[in-house]
């Protein structure tokens, strides 16, 4: 059964029939807020843009005011599309983009079911209906508290729908024969280069292929071993 592993960044551990486990890093309150704020800005801009342009066209002059007497055309062409864009933004986009919205894409997260699959229509609808509760009393107060106190960082809507937000795995490219050749070329000149120069070149090449070098400096031997691994290349 899928479980979450407690760490600084919790992971959703998925069993598979193949026997090879998967671990999905679960997004926390920070990534959620980041995605939400971007999405909120987008829908606020869309709302304001539609309302503004439609109101100007409706009034035929520089005025955004609603008519004194309620007019069906005002509601159909100005209010309903603007309000629909604002309130149905998440529901429509999450359904259309398989659990993603522009904000979630920018934050590098997406909605997944607890078995790691893309959530179904029912789960996404339920998740969004429960925004009514999560958004209480103001500014998603309940939802925010829920994401802070639950171990999977989920809001009430996620609990109801059986979903959570996971970080997207960035697409990586496999090293090609050309990459192997570059690595081989550097290795052939390894002893003729100064230590600084070869380490600089090695890190530059290896960084392009997914090796990460944080604050700790890589040793000469480590870099050489990694270059040798790359030079053997996957396509030989």
């Amino acid at each position: 059964m899928p479980t979450t592993r407690s760490r600084a960044t919790p992971e959703l551990l998925l069993d598979s029939v193949t026997g090879v486990d998967l671990a999905l890093p679960v997004a926390g309150a920070g990534a959620r807020c980041y995605a939400f704020v971007i999405d909120w800005l987008i829908r606020a801009i869309l709302f304001a843009a539609w309302y503004g342009v439609a109101a100007l066209i409706y009034n035929g002059r520089w005025s955004f005011a609603a008519p004194l007497n309620p007019d069906p055309r005002w509601f159909v062409f100005v209010v309903a599309p603007a309000a629909g864009t604002y309130f149905l933004y998440h529901m429509v986009l999450e359904l259309a983009l398989q659990g993603r919205t522009p904000g979630k894409r920018m934050a590098g997260v997406h909605i997944v079911a607890r078995d790691g699959s893309t959530p179904g229509v029912g789960a996404l609808l339920t998740r969004n209906v429960f925004r009514l509760v999560d958004s209480l009393p103001l500014f998603y107060g309940i939802g925010l508290v829920a994401t802070l106190v639950t171990k999977d960082h989920i809001r009430i809507g996620d609990m109801a729908a059986g979903t959570l937000l996971a970080y997207e795995r960035t697409d990586v490219a496999l090293p090609s024969a050309a990459d192997a050749e570059i690595a081989g070329d550097l290795l052939s000149r390894w002893s003729s280069l100064t230590s600084d120069a070869r380490q600089h070149l090695a890190i530059e090449i290896l960084s392009r292929y997914g090796y990460e070098y944080g604050s700790t400096a890589a040793t000469d031997a480590t870099l050489r071993a990694q270059l040798e691994r790359l030079s053997r290349g996957p396509t030989r």
């Binding site: 790691g116 699959s117 893309t118 209906v129 990586v172 290349g233 996957p234």
Partner: protein, 348 residues
């Protein structure tokens, strides 16, 4: 053979690594297929079954890459490809027309049958609170200020219903849109509020019942209860029934938290929310109809009571036919293809 036996562990690992790295084209093909099938249907049966083979291939090679090349680009690539294949393979089949047909023909009636005790209880609570509201204002008339706005009270005290002449101010279309939007939100809220162990749902049901009873008592004191009944009857039969239905859905959510029936509270809550949530789709559709009636027919003067009764009862019977609570060809607790709770992967 002799040379193979003489290999050191390192040499053996390097040989395995080399053999593994010769399969990159298969990985790329598998990744492309799972990416394509995440967006569209398989071209044919072979295409679909190849996806399952790809999944096994990626799993096998990922397990080796994790051991042989734990910090390599290859392992990262295989992790991402395997995850995408997993998501594609476990994704729900996309058959929207079939799913919708099944939802309305089988699943919603099954939910109504499953929720029958909750519907009975929600209706009883609603009727009791209507009676309580009526009794309170009938006995202590000043209490109407707890349930109605000053404008409404003033209008009734002047011998008129607040709905009289409303169509001169607001067109029917706008009125319908406002009413149906408001009713759908209240209905969804009654369902979601079940999260507070059912107390939120109880509050919404109770408050609406008290208000209805109180307003009936208040209009009765001014001789307008007949007019109020004439106004309410065309749309109210379904609207009030839907209130009880959404209250029942919320009560099921609350009950799942109070006494979990599926393992832990979280799982029970999820199952109840997804299962009873189907009924909310029916509720929303029914409220669109009653909103249109309330905007176009209910406030219009000159429509005889028999026609109002016919519309109200007719729409209510149509609701019963739609929900099919007495249908025998549905299995209660049917798992939805649209709203099914996530089933965990099979254990190893």
């Amino acid at each position: 053979m002799t040379r193979a036996r003489a290999q050191t562990p390192t040499q053996r690992d390097e040989a395995l690594q080399a053999a593994l790295l010769q399969r990159t084209e298969q990985w790329q093909s598998a990744a492309a297929r799972s990416e394509r099938l995440s967006r569209e249907r398989a071209a044919n049966l072979a295409d679909a079954t190849q996806m399952a083979d790809d999944y096994r291939l990626l799993a096998h090679d990922l397990a080796r890459a994790r051991r042989l090349m734990p910090d390599s680009r290859v392992r990262q690539y295989l992790e991402a490809a395997y995850l995408r294949a997993h998501a594609t393979l476990y994704r729900e089949a996309s058959r929207p027309a079939e799913a919708l047909l099944s939802l309305f023909r089988v699943e919603i009636p099954a939910v109504v049958r499953w929720l029958t005790p909750h519907i009975i209880w929600a209706t009883a609570i609603f009727i009791l609170t209507v009676g309580a509201g009526y009794w309170m204002v009938h006995t202590y008339p000043d209490l109407i200020s707890l349930f109605a706005s000053p404008d409404l009270i003033a209008t009734v005290e002047h011998g008129q219903l607040w709905t009289a002449g409303i169509l001169n101010i607001v067109p029917s279309s706008v009125l319908s849109l406002q009413i149906l939007t408001n009713n759908i939100v209240v209905s969804l809220f009654a369902y979601c509020a079940g999260f507070v162990f059912g107390l939120g749902t109880l509050y919404i049901l109770g408050l609406n019942g008290l208000m209805l009873g109180a307003v009936f008592a208040f209009t009765g004191q001014h001789g307008l209860d007949g007019a109020l009944f004439r106004f309410i009857v065309p749309h109210g039969c379904v609207e009030l029934s839907v209130m009880c239905l959404s209250g029942a859905a919320g009560a099921a959510v609350g009950e799942a938290l109070i006494r979990p029936a599926h393992g832990d509270r979280m799982k029970s809550f999820q199952v109840a929310a997804l299962r009873s949530g189907k009924l909310l789709i029916a509720c929303a559709l029914l409220l669109v109809g009653s909103g249109i009636i309330e905007g176009y027919l209910s406030p219009r003067a000159g429509i005889p009571l028999w026609l109002r009764m016919a519309v109200g009862v007719g729409y209510w019977l149509a609701m019963i036919a739609f929900l099919r609570p007495f249908a025998s060809d549905v299995t209660p607790r049917t798992e939805s293809t649209v709203f099914s709770p996530v089933t965990p992967a099979a254990p190893r």
